[in-house]
C-alpha cells in the first residue's frame, strides 16, 4: 500500500484529501504514478498536470522524477504560502 495526500487547492480540485492504494504493477517512480492517477479522468489529468505542484515523498520534497516504493507516503501540493 502507498499513502497518497493532496493539499489546499489541489485537494479541492480533486475532491479528496488522502487515500491508501495498492502500488500498481510497473509503477516505480513519480512520473509513472502520476500518469496512472491521471487515467482516473479529466479532473485528475488536468490537476496533476500543473507544473507548479510540489511532490513530497515521506514528508520530504523530492524531484518530480524520483523513485517510489511500497509503503511510501506521497503528497502533492501547490506552492506554500505560510507565515
Amino acid at each position: 500500500m502507498i499513502q497518497l495526500r493532496y493539499f489546499a487547492s489541489l485537494r479541492e480540485s480533486l475532491g479528496i484529501g488522502d487515500e491508501q492504494v495498492e502500488l500498481p504493477e510497473n509503477v516505480s517512480d513519480l512520473p509513472a504514478l502520476t500518469q496512472w492517477l491521471q487515467q482516473r479522468g479529466e479532473s485528475w489529468e488536468n490537476a496533476l498536470a500543473d507544473q507548479r505542484l510540489h511532490v513530497a515523498v515521506n514528508q520530504q520534497i523530492v524531484p518530480a522524477d524520483s523513485r517510489i516504493a511500497d509503503g511510501d507516503e506521497i503528497a502533492w501540493f501547490p506552492p506554500v504560502t505560510g507565515g
Binding site: R5, F7, A8, S9, R11, A56, Q59, Q60, I61, A75, F77, P78, P79, V80, T81, G82, G83
Partner: protein, 138 residues
C-alpha cells in the same frame, strides 16, 4: 522550540517566557509576528484559513530551527504557527531568535521567517465577502 496549533498564542507571554529562561545569557532578542490583514489586493478579508501538512510541517519547522542554530550563535529560537480559521488581526506566526549579538538575532529571525514562507507546508485561503481564494506565494 516549534509549535503548530489551532489555538491562539500571546507573543508577549512567549517573549516573557523566553526572557525568563534566558537568565542573562542573551543580550538581544528579535521577534517577528505575522498577523492577519483585513485587506489584501484591495479586498476586505473576512477570514483566513491556514491548511498544513501534519507531520511534514513540524519536520520542516524543526529543520529551519536547526539550520538557524547552525548558521548563527543563538541562545534560543522559537517558531509558533497557527492553523485553521483565523480572523483579521489574529496572530498567524511568531518567530523569535535570541543571541548575545544583535546582528545575529536579526539575521536568524529574518532567515527563519523567510525560509518558513518558502519551504514549510502551509497554505492560505482567504474568504472575501462572497467568495474564497487560495493565495499564491507573494
Amino acid at each position: 522550540m516549534i509549535r503548530v496549533q489551532t489555538v491562539d498564542f500571546n507573543p508577549a507571554d512567549e517573549l516573557e517566557q523566553l526572557r525568563s529562561v534566558n537568565n542573562g545569557k542573551a543580550g538581544a532578542m528579535v521577534s517577528f509576528t505575522g498577523l492577519v490583514r483585513d485587506l489584501n489586493e484591495g479586498d476586505n478579508i473576512t477570514q483566513l484559513t491556514l491548511e498544513h501538512y501534519p507531520g511534514m510541517t513540524e519536520k520542516a519547522l524543526a529543520k529551519i530551527e536547526t539550520q538557524a542554530n547552525a548558521q548563527w550563535e543563538l541562545t534560543a529560537t522559537l517558531i509558533i504557527h497557527r492553523v485553521g480559521p483565523l480572523q483579521p488581526n489574529d496572530n498567524i506566526v511568531l518567530v523569535v531568535a535570541a543571541s548575545m549579538h544583535r546582528k545575529q538575532a536579526f539575521a536568524a529571525c529574518e532567515f527563519m521567517i523567510d525560509t518558513l514562507k518558502t519551504s514549510a507546508p502551509f497554505w492560505k485561503k482567504e474568504s472575501l465577502q462572497n467568495s474564497d481564494r487560495w493565495l499564491a506565494p507573494g
